[in-house]
């Protein structure tokens, strides 16, 4: 079990290497760790897991009610939703089944609801129903004027995307996978001249050699695809979503995920509670060509505020805790782009858009199935080892956190010592994160593991103290 962040990479070839430690790549690595005793590597360009699209999304555990019926995405979202809900319950990943309302604000949207209901049923989701304006108002009293009705989708939930990715990566590493961070794959060579049996992945830290390669590189999956196959199956067009996170004191304003009725112009802007007790407004949908453009813009934020004012007027009076932007890996296709190239001992997992969090475990099962088919007897994928369960730190507001637990504080006073006051993060939790299996590489990584510095004051009170703890523990994991 190892996590490396610097220094040369191991020379010995791996059986399987997964490129990209986002939610999908980490799920695949975990699945591989669970199935057999292969030498597996998870290779990530940045300094942390879940550091790209996976960290900046709308954090919804979808039912898949609105997927394209019959698509691979529809199937994997449906299966993945069930798998992840069970996994979350077992691993302590916070999930709240708050349900969603697709609110119709005009006649056109109202007339679209029966079609959406029918689509949900074709996707095997039978719990949706159409409700009238009065019921919408009763269930969401703070909603803006003019809602005409809604599609009620009780199965939609909110989830913590950060601990989901972290749980997969942690279990993968404990199950024997080597996680190599800061290892951007810059070149892929599969020429027979070098080693007929191996792909060679060039990274700034040296070469990773691997017999089988799984591309889960998210926004960069198309580039890797082209390098390896000499052609591209698809092109990733980053679609930016800017989001505004409102303060916890706004949480009582909204009970459900308030989804817009999809139109020809896209899925639109939602208002949703978060498991951290905040309220999310967003995302925008901007087609870009820069895969690094994760910045927010004046116009984007102004647009969100205008839309949010209509949906939930009182929300705009509340303090803003965070603004951020994420990039979805959209392609020219409507469906996931998961392709196996057995001759090349290669599988691409691309075009995994906003449903990737929900579908992650099902994608992992599907991809490992493809790998088994591609490899045949060359890889022994029949022996299924059992992974030890993981227990994630609870970042959810709906479940007891350490500062609320007298039993925990009695065993270790560090859990009674609150460092980050807005988010009520204790010294004990920060210490645990810093010495965990997959420790954070930055203060932002620490925030995603503990919520420290992520609250309304953004570090006014705790920033310096949290940095002191972060620097003090260092890479050795030993307290200063």
């Amino acid at each position: 079990m190892s996590v490396t962040t610097k220094g040369p990479l191991p020379a010995e070839p791996y059986d399987v290497t997964v490129v990209g430690a986002g939610v999908v790549g980490s799920a695949i690595a975990r699945e591989l760790a669970g199935h057999h005793r292969l030498r597996v590597a998870l290779v990530e360009a940045s300094g942390d897991v879940g550091n790209g699209t996976s960290k900046a999304n709308t954090a919804i555990l979808h039912t898949g009610f609105d997927a394209v019926p019959g698509s691979l995405e529809a199937r994997l979202v449906r299966e993945g939703s069930r798998l992840l809900a069970a996994y979350a319950a077992e691993s302590g990943i916070p999930v709240e089944p708050v349900g969603a309302l697709l609110v119709a604000w005009n006649e056109e949207q109202l007339s679209a609801l029966p079609g959406l209901l029918e689509k949900a049923e074709r996707n095997g989701y039978d719990d949706a129903r159409i409700i009238g304006a009065d019921e919408v108002r009763a269930r969401e009293p703070h909603l803006g004027e003019g809602a005409l009705g809604a599609l009620d989708v009780p199965g939609e939930s909110i989830i913590c995307p950060w601990t989901t990715t972290l749980a997969y990566a942690t279990q993968a590493v404990r199950g024997g996978v080597d996680l190599h961070l800061n290892s951007e794959v810059q070149k892929v060579s599969s020429a027979p001249g070098a080693d007929a049996q191996c792909h060679e992945l060039s990274t700034p830290r040296g070469v990773v050699r691997t017999r089988y390669l799984i591309n889960a590189a998210g926004l960069h999956a198309d580039a890797l695809d082209r390098r390896l196959l000499g052609r591209g199956e698809f092109t990733v067009t980053p679609r930016r979503g800017q989001l505004i996170v409102f303060d916890k004191l706004a949480r009582d304003l909204v009970s459900h995920i308030l989804l817009p009725v999809p139109t020809a112009l896209g899925k639109g802007v939602l208002v949703a509670p978060t498991v951290y007790g905040n309220v999310l407004l967003g995302p925008t949908a901007e087609e870009l060509d820069d895969k690094g453009a994760t910045h927010t813009t004046h116009d984007g934020l102004a647009d969100l505020r205008a839309k949010g004012r209509r949906i939930l007027p009182a929300l705009l009076d509340e303090e803003v805790t965070a603004v951020y932007a994420g990039l979805r890996a959209a392609t020219e296709y409507d469906d996931y782009q998961i392709h196996s190239a057995p001759e090349e001992r290669y599988i691409t997992v691309g075009g995994i858009r906003s449903t990737g969090l929900t579908a992650s475990m099902a994608i992992a099962e599907y991809v490992v199935g493809l790998l088994a088919d591609a490899a045949g007897p060359d890889l022994d994928l029949t022996v299924g080892g059992n992974l030890d369960p993981v227990s994630m730190p609870n970042l959810g507001e709906a479940f007891p956190r350490p500062y609320q637990r007298a039993d925990l504080i009695a065993t270790d006073p560090a859990y009674g010592s609150i460092v980050c006051h807005c988010e009520r993060v204790t010294r004990g939790e920060i210490r645990d994160a810093l010495i965990s299996t997959v420790p954070p590489g930055s203060l932002d990584g620490l925030r995603r593991r503990t919520r420290a510095r992520g609250g309304r004051c953004q570090g006014f009170y705790c920033g310096a103290a949290v940095r002191e703890l972060f620097d003090g523990w260092g890479e050795s994991g030993a307290a200063r």
Binding site: E319, V320, A406, I409, F460, D471
Partner: protein, 403 residues
């Protein structure tokens, strides 16, 4: 699993207001007084203000002043418990706490909220751009420099030109950081021209921050002038200063009525909130005034708390006091029958020259006060309270306007 205890007076927050209230109350010997401080040490924000201007003659530094306040409270017999957070309420006068020694539920006969204020961070100001490291508020910067002696950066831009912005400039200088400029949307610095000049740093007026640039680390800020012209100033550090808001979470969680202007608890001339037995003072009521003003309120609330403990009834019914634009807020902002005297603190959103403040109730003239000199935006503006006896307790809101 929660230990339950009772005290006469529970003060939440050991800054100047809370400590002064505790010292005054405990000194009178009539009550058990406990002060909770969630930070590891008591003293409040002055602890990390390593500059003069504190104390009666302004001769003390912040840390020294904070120490004196703590000693005064302890010396008077108050219990000051640092590292203990008030996390919520279990009753109108019962506060739940978390500390290294476990969970408690403390019930008091009077609760004094002295929870202080904080600066709005970049996110709350909706400054767009990337999310790089190197973005601070003054509060974080001062702690990083003076308490933890951390590396800050090499070249900074300070957003704001208020007294706190110049304090940030000093902290940056102490940390060896070059300050490229102070930038403000206002037409001039919010301090005396002498102080602005003494800071020896470029001041860009009529300028706002349009975007933060950089990936892992800040690489610059894009500035926009009022006429729309833009330029990029390269820096690896930016400090957002001023724009203080009361830390009102506990008040709000307890259902304490807030004032729409200050965003802190609405209080009367005796710092009583609308919730019987709950008082509020200091920057948690109106963000922010000099420490001596907050401490003065602590002394004054002690009198009212003693009255409450002695059986003086809690007033029911109050007339709100409202500030009309360009005034942003006024505090105190509730007038209860029988109130008299005192002083009101106001803020204006725009600079005013020799403004005349006019107080009316239901159109009826109550008072007029001329303020001499220039009043800067977001700086203190004071209104004498000689008129409060004239307020009709059954009437509409009292309005303070620029006449």
């Amino acid at each position: 699993m929660r230990r339950q205890r009772s005290v006469d007076v529970l003060v939440v927050g050991a800054g100047p207001a809370g400590l002064a209230a505790a010292a005054s109350l405990a000194g009178s010997g009539a009550a058990t007084v406990e002060v909770l401080e969630r930070e590891a040490r008591a003293g409040g924000v002055p602890r990390h203000c390593h500059h003069g201007g504190f104390g009666r003659w302004g001769a003390a530094t912040g840390p020294r002043y904070a120490e004196d306040l703590v000693e005064a409270a302890l010396g008077a017999g108050a219990a000051v418990r640092a590292g203990v957070s008030a996390t919520g309420w279990s009753g109108p006068l019962s506060v739940d706490t978390t500390g290294p020694h476990g969970l408690e539920r403390i019930t008091a006969r009077a609760v004094v909220l002295a929870t202080g204020a904080r600066e709005r961070p970049r996110t709350a100001r909706l400054v767009p751009g990337s999310r790089p490291a190197g973005v601070f508020t003054t509060g974080e910067l001062q702690q990083a420099v003076h308490v933890y002696r951390q590396e800050i950066g090499t070249r900074a831009v300070v957003v704001g030109a208020e007294p706190v912005s110049y304090a940030a400039r000093s902290a940056l200088r102490r940390a060896g950081v070059d300050v490229a400029a102070l930038v403000t949307e206002e037409a001039r610095a919010q301090v005396s021209r002498g102080r602005a000049a003494a800071a020896r740093v470029p001041l860009l007026t009529g300028v706002s921050v349009a975007e933060l640039l950089g990936r892992e680390r800040l690489s610059g800020v894009r500035l926009r002038r009022r006429d729309g012209r833009e330029r990029v100033l390269s820096c690896d550090t930016v400090v957002f200063t001023g724009d203080f808001v009361p830390d009102h979470e506990l008040a709000r969680r307890g259902g304490v009525l807030l004032d729409a202007g200050t965003r802190g608890p609405a209080v009367d001339m005796s710092f009583r909130t609308a919730s019987p037995g709950v008082f509020a003072v200091g920057s948690g009521v109106h963000a922010v005034e000099p420490a001596r003003v907050a401490a003065g309120e602590g002394v004054r609330v002690a009198r009212a708390v003693r009255g409450h403990l002695g059986g003086v009834g809690w007033p029911c019914g109050a007339v709100p006091v409202v500030a009309d634009a360009p005034l942003r807020w006024v505090a105190p902002n509730r007038l209860v029958p029988g109130a008299s005297g005192g002083r009101f603190i106001l803020r204006t959103a725009e600079a005013l020259v020799c403004p005349v403040l006019v107080v009316r109730q239901d159109g009826r003239f109550l008072y007029r006060q001329r303020v001499l000199g220039a009043v800067l935006a977001n700086r203190g503006l004071y209104l004498s309270g000689g008129w409060v006896g004239k307020v009709d307790a059954g009437g509409g809101p009292v309005r303070v306007a620029v006449g």
